[in-house]
Amino acid sequence: MAIRERLSGNEAVAFAMRQIDPDVVAAFPITPSTEVPQYFSQFVANGQVHTEFVAVESEHSAMSACIGAEAAGARTMTATSSQGLALMWEMLYIAASMRLPIVMTAVNRALSAPINIHNDHSDAMGARDSGWIQIYNETNQEAYDSLIMAIRVAEHADVQLPVMVCYDGFITSHSVENIMLLEDELVKNFVGEYKPKYSLLDKEHPVSMGMFDLPAFYFEHKRQQAEAIKNAKQVLIDVQNEFAKISGRQYGLFEEYKLDDADIAIVIANSTAGTAKDTVDMLREQGIKAGLLKIRLFRPFPADEIAKALSHVKAVAVMDKAEGFSAAGGPIFVDVRSAMYGKADGVKVINYIYGLGGRDVGVYDIKQVYDHLQKIADSGQVDNLYNYLGIRE
């Protein structure tokens, strides 16, 4: 029987970690992810988990400790945000390139400077090329579910890569909302026992990890790593289908909301997708064929599937909660537009940067984006390719 509860996003994720009962958690506190290791350390203190909790002195050390533990053969988890993720930078690449299936919660927060504790996606978007699998989540429920599934994806023999489970700081992490939890036994059975193929503590099969790699092999190793993250897409599909059987909740690579017959659509990740669904319903009542595509799996990027899903609409706005500073659009926009090139030609695609540093975005803010799209759909002309939602200038 599912358990009806009300939890904040951070509480839900800590609860999932208790059910997963990893071998090692190494973490350093940073707002707004602090509560995740905080609640989890209480489970450790209460003897509710078997986990070795490593309190480190920085996020660089947190990720280093995770790498060491995972390489030794331990199922390892952590959590961070913003500057903490930034400080992990070089270790993120090492975790991915050593093919260590660490699972990390990234509670999305803006990056300094100026210092800001509120939500945007600059932190995780900056790590999008680190080789980590990234899954973005709208609600506490989705974050809880994704964290459980992430263990299976990361550790799958065809993947063997770390996974970052992302959700919005404060908006999701600190808001208390309804959630359906799975029973402990169900989660335990779903994630199963971790049996790494290679580990440093397996003395019957000694291996070396993180070796010096000369031009003779480095390129081939990167090619294998690229193949592994490519495999993650099908593995996620399979794991999600299996998860649907125990939870009744079916997830896809992305979510389509009233997109089938839509003339205009937005592409958006995390909590604002929920707000935008209310906007879609409001516009539908007015007879406007609005739709939405919510990003879930961002790395690897399901390019063909997204291009196909958007191929029938007249105009699309891709919403980025990170600036990117390419002067050619935000990170999701660049990937979506590139995916559509040659596959969905003729669809007008524009970019909106929104909500940086926690700027609140409501139903009527999103409506402005659809109004803009309607104008483009009617005229067939794109006036502004790059836009900033609700900016004062």
């Binding site: 009300r6 504790i117 919005d168 404060f170 208390v176 669904k277 209310d278 409501g362 139903v363």
Partner: protein
């Protein structure tokens, strides 16, 4: 989208407005509703104005923005009336409850002659008499629940008693005082 009730809390850091919004969410959750309870985080300073929010619905809540057109407003600190536009966007079909010894008629003048229901309760007096300290949030929670009638009174008090036992597990001596403060505020709130 079904009928959704939205509540906005205005308080000052340290007065427990955030906790009150979470307790309210909990009470409504216990009656089978979908709920949201969340503060608007700023620089956390004792005494600084802060806002917290609740949404309550019979259907899953998808919107994740602040609340701009609340059905109800709770003002946990009367001094905020001078500096914060507490009735901004407040629906006239709803109401506002203020922590003050003044009458609703007197307070209405400070609310730009807001047309909806106005409630007042002396949460300071209740809190100091029942808890021996100034914690206005629980009396204000009682007052707003009395105004909205979202939950049947006895059920609400029972639900809150359970929450207090959970929340104050390490200091059970404050449980009875909080229950008394809650009940008194529900009785003593004046609404016009």
């Amino acid at each position: 989208m079904g009928k959704m009730i939205e509540i906005r809390w205005h308080g000052r850091g340290g007065q427990g407005a955030k906790t009150a919004s979470l307790l309210l969410a909990e009470a409504l959750f216990n009656t089978g509703k979908y709920i949201q309870g969340f503060p608007e985080y700023g620089p956390e300073r004792s005494g600084a104005p802060l806002t917290a929010y609740n949404r309550i619905s019979d259907e899953p809540i998808r919107v994740h923005s602040n609340i701009y057109e609340p059905d109800y407003v709770v003002v946990v600190d009367e001094t905020l009336l001078a500096s914060v536009d507490v009735t901004a966007g407040l629906k006239e079909t709803g109401g506002i409850v203020v922590n003050t010894p003044k009458s609703p008629e007197e307070i209405r003048h400070y609310l730009k002659d807001y047309k909806g229901k106005v409630g007042t309760v002396d949460a300071k007096k209740i809190s100091e008499e029942e808890l021996g300290r100034y914690f206005p949030n629980v009396p204000m929670l009682g007052a707003i629940m009395a105004m909205t009638g979202l939950v049947e009174k006895e059920q609400f008090i029972k639900s809150m008693e359970e929450s207090f036992h959970h929340k104050f597990a390490t200091k059970p001596e404050v449980i009875d005082g909080n229950v008394r403060a809650l009940k008194r505020a529900m009785e003593e709130v004046r609404i016009s």
